[in-house]
């Protein structure tokens, strides 16, 4: 019985927990509720994934209204995979969050913080799970609004500006998406994605459809932070509280990429969106530029959080490159990288969180000798960094490998060169940190000692996951392949 209700519970549980959080309001209680809720969503998403693997896509309707009229959830491999990423990251990071948040946010605001966290989780899970275009927009707004709150809580005063800019940009993006969905609705009279996919081909050759497509792609591109629409991202990630940086960096853009995939492949169909429309080449160019430019900028950053944020922009470039190949291999590379990038960025930002907790800074200059002062934390950072570069036996290598194979299959040599250069640039910016931390002068009077276990363990867990999924790829690669196949097959 309960098995059939899992899709609803996936979203309802965090949605229910959010107001409860507001009622409880005490830091510890709200934290505990957040962890428990995240863990519950993780359990549900795992169950959903196994269900989908066993018996194919799951349909769920709300309030007993049949699909095209009511809101329907539809879970196939792609979104089950994304649900798993989001809920797993939320669980790990929320465990980490208690001390980190306690150090960075006033006790009186922590209730709001966890409430916003749960709402954000609700929104992200909702985007991933829903099969309704308008519902997707609603969840997008829930997650965005709550993430503005989360970012604004950063210690640095600039967090407010960053959050404000994100608010403006995010709202524009959401509005575009709404306009796009509205145009599609005007054209077809339906909001259900499956229904849209059926009715769109008949009317695809109209200006309305194309305008809708343009608004949707640009709106989602803004949410993904695709170059050159990434400008909100570096500050938002850099000035947000440590836990939020880790959570959002690992999940928010991933979910937006998922939304893009959903619209491109399931709603419009790849023949329209990537062949009729010149989007594939656009994505290839913008993705390549993102990889090169953002990696180059990352090299010169003094603030490591900002450096990682730019590196995220570069990684988004890889994700879009994977889409631009319009091949099953490329698509599975993208989906795989969604997963692997969540692991590596999660590990890196958690390591930074530990460092911020201990030395209160993310500036490169303060990292002198940190390799000896916080050996485990720097170890996590190092593994995350290696994974980011794509060293074999790390998760990052696997996704780069598939990306390279996809580029070779297509014979796009320039893109191959871009990927290689991007990796080399990643070597440079990671090396800067490693050099300072391990070879720099050891400052005797600087604070030293590891972060508490409740922070260190989640970080180590993600680092280990980076290695585990660099060696045992059955789950990550297998599901990504199947998901890519499913996307190519249409809804």
């Amino acid at each position: 019985m309960i098995g059939a209700q899992l899709p609803a519970l996936q979203v309802v549980i965090p949605l229910l927990a959010a107001p409860l959080c507001l009622l409880l309001y005490r830091p510890f209680a709200t934290w505990l509720l957040t962890v428990v809720t995240s863990a519950a969503t993780l359990v549900i998403s795992t169950l959903l994934l196994t269900q989908v693997l066993d018996s194919g896509p799951i349909d769920y309707t709300f309030g007993g209204w049949a699909a095209p009229f009511g809101i329907a959830y539809r879970i196939d491999l792609v979104n089950a995979y994304v649900l798993l990423i989001v809920s797993a990251i939320s669980t790990v990071v929320s465990v980490f969050a208690r001390l980190s948040v306690a150090a960075e946010i006033e006790a009186s605001n922590q209730g709001i913080f966890y409430t916003a966290w749960l709402l954000c989780l609700t929104g992200l899970l909702g985007i991933a799970i829903t099969g309704d275009a308008f519902n997707l927009f609603v969840f997008l707004e829930i997650s965005s609004l709550s993430s503005y709150v989360l970012i604004a809580m950063g210690q640095d005063r600039r967090a407010l500006t960053a959050s404000y800019q994100y608010l403006i940009m995010g709202t524009i993006g959401a509005t575009f998406i709404l306009i796009g969905v509205g145009l599609l609705y005007a054209l077809t009279g339906t909001l259900n994605m499956a229904d849209l996919a059926e009715r769109l081909p008949a009317v695809a050759d109209t200006r309305t459809a194309r305008a809708g497509f343009a608004f949707l792609t640009v709106g989602i591109a803004l949410k993904i932070a695709l170059f050159p629409l990434h400008l909100w991202l570096p500050n938002a990630y850099a000035y947000a509280p440590s836990a939020v940086s880790a959570f959002l960096a690992a999940t928010a853009t991933k979910v937006a990429v998922y939304a893009l995939l959903r619209f491109l492949f399931s709603v419009f169909g790849e023949s329209f969106s990537l062949e009729t429309m010149p989007l594939a080449h656009g994505l290839a160019v913008l993705g390549s530029v993102a990889v090169l430019f953002a990696s180059l900028v990352a090299i010169f950053q003094h603030n490591i959080k900002r450096m990682l944020a730019y590196s995220s922009v570069a990684q988004i470039g890889y994700l879009t490159l994977g889409i631009s190949f319009v091949s099953e291999l490329g698509l599975s590379a993208t989906i795989l990288h969604l997963f692997n990038h969540a692991l590596m960025k999660g590990a890196l930002f958690l390591a930074l969180g530990c460092i911020a907790w201990r030395i209160g800074s993310a500036r490169l200059g303060d990292f002198q000798g940190l390799g000896y002062r916080m050996p485990w934390t720097m170890g996590v950072f190092l593994i995350g960094g290696l994974s980011l570069i794509g060293i074999p036996t790390t998760a990052g290598f696997i996704s780069k490998w598939y990306l390279v194979l996809a580029a070779l299959e297509k014979g796009w040599w320039p893109v191959l060169v871009v990927i290689v250069i991007g990796s080399l640039l990643a070597v440079v910016y990671i090396w800067r940190v490693v050099e300072i931390a391990y070879l720099g002068k050891r400052l005797e009077e600087a604070p030293s000692g590891e972060a508490p276990l409740s922070m260190l363990l989640p970080a180590c867990l993600l680092a280990l996951a980076n290695i585990y999924f660099g060696i045992h790829t059955e789950l990550s690669v297998g599901v990504a392949h199947e998901a890519a196949k499913a996307l190519f097959g249409g809804l």
Partner: protein, 139 residues
């Protein structure tokens, strides 16, 4: 504006009316035009007017912040709670039919409660937003 007698008196007269109209829109919503969202905004207008005329401090003492917070959470909980209740009663999320003895009775009750939750939350949020902005310049 606190010392303008005309404003004070007019406000005292129309605030109850606004609140009653808000309640009307709320509870008539399932028969005619209306609904929780609109009702919540109208209901909140009454409080906001009170705050404008008598000062935000007066409004704050009328509705303390913790209460507002509880009301916001309570409304949302009511909404989600109905959904969870339908789940627990063995149907889909927000499938109201199971709430009453007859399907239409269940629909009735379900929509009533859900709209109430929406209205409560919206009005409390509106008041909070007003206080948030109006309170900026307070010492």
């Amino acid at each position: 504006m606190n010392d303008n007698p005309v404003l004070r008196i007019v406000a005292k007269i129309i605030i109850p009316m606004i609140l009653i109209f808000g309640l009307y829109v709320q509870f008539h919503g399932d028969f005619g035009p209306g609904g929780g969202f609109q009702a919540g905004v109208i209901f909140a207008t009454g409080f906001i007017l009170y705050g404008l005329v008598f000062g935000t401090d007066a409004l704050r003492s009328a509705i303390p912040a913790p209460i507002l917070r509880i009301v916001i959470a309570g409304g949302l909980l009511l909404y989600v709670g109905v959904g969870v209740a339908t789940l627990l009663m063995g149907s889909d999320f927000l499938a109201y039919n199971v709430l009453g003895s007859t399907p239409s009775g269940g629909q009735h009750l379900g929509i009533f409660l859900v709209e109430l939750g929406v209205g409560v939350t919206v009005s409390a949020v509106m008041i909070t937003v007003f206080l948030g902005f109006a309170g900026r310049n307070d010492p």
